[in-house]
């Protein structure tokens, strides 16, 4: 059915509200990241350095991604990336968090593989999950369509074939 003028206005309002909320969230997330990094820079600059280097894939997404789903993508990338960086951060923190420890990690190929591999895994998830979601949605839609068809058939049975508009 065609939307009336009032309906359109309301939907636009809703979109604007939703956009505002997501914009706030998208501004809030980098702000929190910056805050954490800034705090960490004061507490332990070498750890902060590790975080900065280890989270480079996340920063790429943060600055490059312009899609409407940026927040969800950033969340995914950050969470996977973080889970790769976190073991080295904790290890460094426990060792005292000096610059020499940072240099050890930077020079460790395995450490880079783990940190960037985790980010890669995040990127793979970002590619795979929409495909999975589409498949699941397809199945759910089919079930809902069957339910609606049953309801439609009941209505036709109650009102006759003419209710469908056919002569």
């Amino acid at each position: 059915m065609a939307k009336t003028g009032t309906d359109r206005k309301e939907s636009r309002k809703k979109e604007r509200k939703a956009g505002k909320a997501s914009g706030q969230r998208s501004r809030l997330t980098p702000f929190l990241i910056y805050l954490c990094l800034g705090g960490l820079l004061f507490v332990s600059p070498p750890v902060a350095g590790l975080v900065f280097l280890g989270l480079i894939p996340t920063f790429v997404v943060l600055f490059v991604d312009t899609t409407p789903e940026k927040v969800a993508r950033l969340n995914t990338m950050f969470s996977f990336n973080l889970s790769g960086v976190l073991p080295y951060m904790v290890d460094m923190w426990e060792k005292g968090g000096r610059m020499v420890h940072l240099m050890e990690v930077i020079s460790d190929l395995v450490a880079w593989t783990v940190m960037l591999g985790a980010a890669g895994l995040g990127a793979a998830t970002l590619w795979l999950f929409p495909v999975l979601a589409a498949g699941v949605q397809q199945i759910l839609n089919r079930e809902r369509a069957s339910r609606l068809e049953k309801r439609r058939d009941e209505l036709i049975d109650e009102w006759g074939v003419k209710v469908t508009g056919s002569p």
């Binding site: 973080l82 949605q137 009102w159």
Partner: protein
Amino acid sequence: MLSPASQNLESINKQEEDQPGLLDGRYSVDLATPLPHFDTAGGKAYGVIDLKDSSRRYYALVHYKGVPHRGDVVAELLRVPVTNLLNPILQQVVRLKAGEPERLVTLIEAPGGPSLGSVLSRLPLSGHRLRRYVVPGIVQALHVLHGKGLTYRALRPQNVFFSSNSLEDVVLGDCFTAPPGADQPAHFEPLEKSVADPMARGDGDQSTDMYALGATLLACHLGNLSQGGRTDEQFFNARIAQGSFWALAAGTEVPGVTGSLLRGLLHDDVEERWTLKETSVWVDAAVPRRRAVSMNWSFARPVLFRRLSYSDRRLLARDFSIYPLEAATFLRNLDFSHWVQTMMITETFNDRLESLISARKDRDLYGNRHGDHALVARVCAHVDPLGPVRFRGLSFSADGVGPAIAEIFASGDESRQNTLLEVFDSTVLPAIIDISSDRNTAMAINGPGLSRMAHIVRRGKGESGLLYCLYAMNPTLPCQSPKLADYWVGTPQRLIFILDILAADSSDLSSLLDPHVLAFFCARVDRAQIFVDRMELSRNDPVRLMTAVTAFLAHLQVALNAGPLKNLTAYLSKSMRPLAERLKNKHQREDTIAKLERLGRIGDIQELAGSVNLTALTAFDMKAFLEAEVKIAALRQTINQLRQPVSPSSPSARISGYRAAAAIGWLVVLVTIMALTLGGK
């Protein structure tokens, strides 16, 4: 709960079917013995055999279907019989022969002696016999009738009977089986009634009976009373010119006290005419004296119309009505207001009368010259206010409109029916009522009722309005519907019962509810008109019409306490079924049809009308159908959308996928933190 009133009617009917021609189980109508001297305008008379008591003598009057009788008089005489009068014994609807249509029969006491008329044909009665036997007997009967507020209206020598062959006491004959005055020769009617159509003379008042008494007594004195070979017109002229007494006496002087009596009774001025009181004084051997101011019927100077000179207003009014188009031309060429004021100087002609009569010089633009005829009728009412309403050949007294309508319908003359319609036009009867009410007592009394009838006819109902008047103004007239030719239906209770019988064999209910039947119910059942109006408004919509018909019959069933009407209910149920089958909703349709089948067997139309309101059901069904159509269209659209393949690049799949990925990511973070925590320990 419905009472079994119709069952009583049914049992009565059954009894009639078993014994045709038998009244009340004992009086057998002898069709082989017609009694023409008892015939009236309302029916034919036959001999009667009393199966239980052969010493009593009766005769039966078999009523004509199209002629109303005087129901109020019959009811009163059945309740309290009057001495010196042949009273009705009973009235019953019977079939005189098996297979013949039903007829209303009135059983009446038969006289013991000959009629005054037949005795007079042999010899005139002496003054002594008149004073001793005839006058007291008649006066006594009239006294009782007038005391009951009734008039006799049938006093003539042929209808006064001696109670035995000794020719002493007299009794008055039947006065109730025909409209008042219908059987009277014109010269037994006072001037103002004599020019009205016989059926339309009206109840009149006591003075009308007194005039007829005078004419009857004059006939006794002279041996007979006739118009002397003169036409009605000539005789009317003579009565105007000489006075009724001299015109009737044809120059014969009646000397002494009998002359005083006859001159008093036959006075043309109602105010001067003797009353019963004065006649009683005369019987007691005294001569009363009275004087009253009489109406001046003379013009100030003679009026010339059709090269004839008229001095009397009543004569001019009569001739205006005989030559209406010439009269209209005559009137339009006058300065009417000036003419009336100079010719009728004894009466005031005010602005109200001038606007009511509205005698303008403009030519009549109606194709049928209605304007001219109406103008003449109004002028006649002003010139002769006591005379009848005269319009296009119709002539009726204000109190005789009902029988006049009945007579016109019974004649089946469509042109007279159309004329009757025109009578109720605002420029005719309503105007005449206003013009003559202050000078004509009968018009003043009957005016409001006639105005109401005129309003009903003018409300755009045409013939149905006239039919309403027919039944409302003739309470004893049976329903004249052609469908009821086999029945005598005098009451709405009986009509609904007969309709129930006819519905068993009829294929079309609308033909049963014809204009006569509807008008009969409207005139005699409270609030029936409202339902008939609804039916009229629903004429083009079968569903609304059927609902209106059901509501109408339900109202009748309750209002008339008619009991179960199984055939009508079954018929309605059967007629409503195809309409119920048109309902689009399956459940609603099946429920309604089931209800119709169940209620169709019960016979309670009220229940049927209350439970199955097809109009409301159809409206609701249509609304719900449109809503269902919209719902189905929306469902179709949604299903089509849901059946489309979902692409991974679709916004919904992407957002869902990313959200799921983010959730997995944070789960991994959580697992990592837990692993680090547990590994540290």
